[in-house]
Symmetry: C2
Subunit: 310 residues, 2 copies
């Protein structure tokens, strides 16, 4: 039995020969009429439609994709009903054997960070009992702006509950450099400095592949930085967003991997979720066959990544 | 009718002569037996107890304190039931005329930030309709690590829906300096740089008092920096955490205010919520009189702040 969730995730990636995570960022407007039409136009109805859609995408990919990454914002925007759909999506994916990366980007002062960690990785203490608020989550994304106080409670729960975190280092968005690329007086950039801190914070949780359960988010849209951070943070596993719709290419992503062809998991959200709407697949699959289009796109992405990662 | 929520908040602070916001960070273990004992030990039971406690604290302070600041982590850790308690707390405080600052510290790439903004400030589009997910929120706290892309959707909703945001600049926790105090090659610190960006981002939403609805979080525990940022960001209103339990003093806080005695709102969570347990009040008020202890502490805090702010 593996002790570190990162080992289990890498085992699964190797077994499936696919370093992909499917981002589940459901937008109501992208759902096909065949799904939306069944439910009323309300937060509850939309959340039900989203859950149905997510489940169908999980059903058609769980044997070829190792993990999902639901983005909390897209559930919170449907209120309480949306949070329920998030919880049930995690549960469903977990039952199907997929790893769940909750993309919440939480970050707060120590005692509050502990609250978030209780919510998503650990447990909530109630008198003599401990209860899990949102279960079936393996990894959580975390924001480092508040420093180590805000990271420590998560790391403690990673140890205690065999969980993992991905700390934002270099994000995939156009303005990520506005803060992350600032040059420090010692010549380093902010993101380099954070990458070093992540290596440091994760050193107690390094598994058999040499990677820690305390991992990092590094965007595919900045290949130079990806390469540089791979060198600087050899024990840091990467969650790599920005592939597909955001412009990241397979050959860029390959720079985040090591000589053993491991080191990261690549997220695609829109290109997988909305495959049925794309030029590539819309003539081949009808709206009702959206899940088949997603599976076809997933197989293509797997092939592309494997060709690039050497 | 005021156009900017920041003007309305300042009006209320002036009317009550009290720049206090009550942080509602409920910890189950701090609730008195008289409240906890009524409900079963479960996420649902705990959430009901928390809601009852919050309502009692609102009832005993709404005529003297202008705003509440529920911290999302402490609701998320009770799962779906906790999120309901959060939503109902916001609704109850709003009905009583209090401003609501949702302390969520969200931050993500543009399209995702829009999702968070829909959730807490704006509305969620569903076909021809737009529905509010979490209503009755006036301000949201936001994390700047991803740069302007992650801020813009919130600023747009601030304009459209007369809402406000508080962007993390210098936080109150011990390790805040780990990233925020890093010296840049131009001699500035990261937090100074972010303070300048906040001034810039907020320049379209400056109201009659000279302050913008795009505001900042600056901790009471770093008085030197508070003073410096007040000078550097003259149009930026401050949410000042760290008073009381975290060690911030009234005379430190005064450094965040301008010559007209405005410029910030001071948060106290534990010292107000748990007043009934403190050395100061526990002999005077029984556990059942926890709301009276909170009111007494609130009046003392108001007096202390007013004495210090000149």
């Amino acid at each position: 039995m593996e002790k570190y969730v990162i080992d289990k995730l890498i085992d699964k990636i190797k077994e499936m020969n696919n370093p992909t995570v499917m981002g589940l960022d459901p937008r109501y407007e992208m759902l096909p009429e065949s799904v939306k039409g069944k439910y009323e136009i309300s937060l509850e109805g939309a959340s039900k439609a989203i859950l149905e859609y997510n489940k169908a995408l999980i059903d058609c990919t769980f044997d070829i994709i190792p993990a999902i990454k639901p983005q909390l914002a897209f559930y919170e925007m449907f209120g309480i009903a949306g949070m329920k759909a998030f919880k049930e999506t995690c549960e469903y994916a977990h039952k199907k054997g997929m790893f769940v990366i909750a993309d919440a980007k939480r970050g707060d002062i120590g005692s509050t960070a502990k609250g978030y960690s209780n919510a998503y990785l650990g447990q909530t203490p109630l008198e003599q009992e401990k209860i899990t608020a949102f279960d079936n989550i393996d990894f959580l994304t975390v924001n480092p702006y508040l420093g180590v106080d805000s990271i420590k409670p998560f790391v403690e729960d990673c140890t205690k509950y065999e969980k993992g975190i991905f700390i934002l280092v270099k994000t995939s968005n156009p303005s990520s450099g506005e803060l992350q690329d600032l040059k420090l007086e010692n010549g380093e950039t902010v993101y380099e400095h954070i990458a070093e801190l992540v290596e440091e914070w994760g050193k107690g949780l390094i598994g058999k592949y040499g990677y820690s359960s305390v991992a990092a988010v590094v965007g595919a849209t900045y290949p130079e930085q990806l390469k540089e951070i791979r060198k600087k943070a050899p024990h840091t596993f990467f969650l790599i967003p920005g592939f597909g719709a955001q412009g990241g290419k397979a050959e860029d992503i390959a720079l985040g991997f090591d000589k053993n062809r491991i080191g990261g998991i690549v997220n695609a959200s829109r290109s997988l979720m909305c495959a049925y709407q794309s030029e590539k697949w819309k003539d081949k699959y009808s709206d009702k066959e959206y899940a088949k289009a997603t599976r076809a796109e997933a197989l293509l992405m797997k092939e592309e990544l494997n060709k690039a990662i050497n």
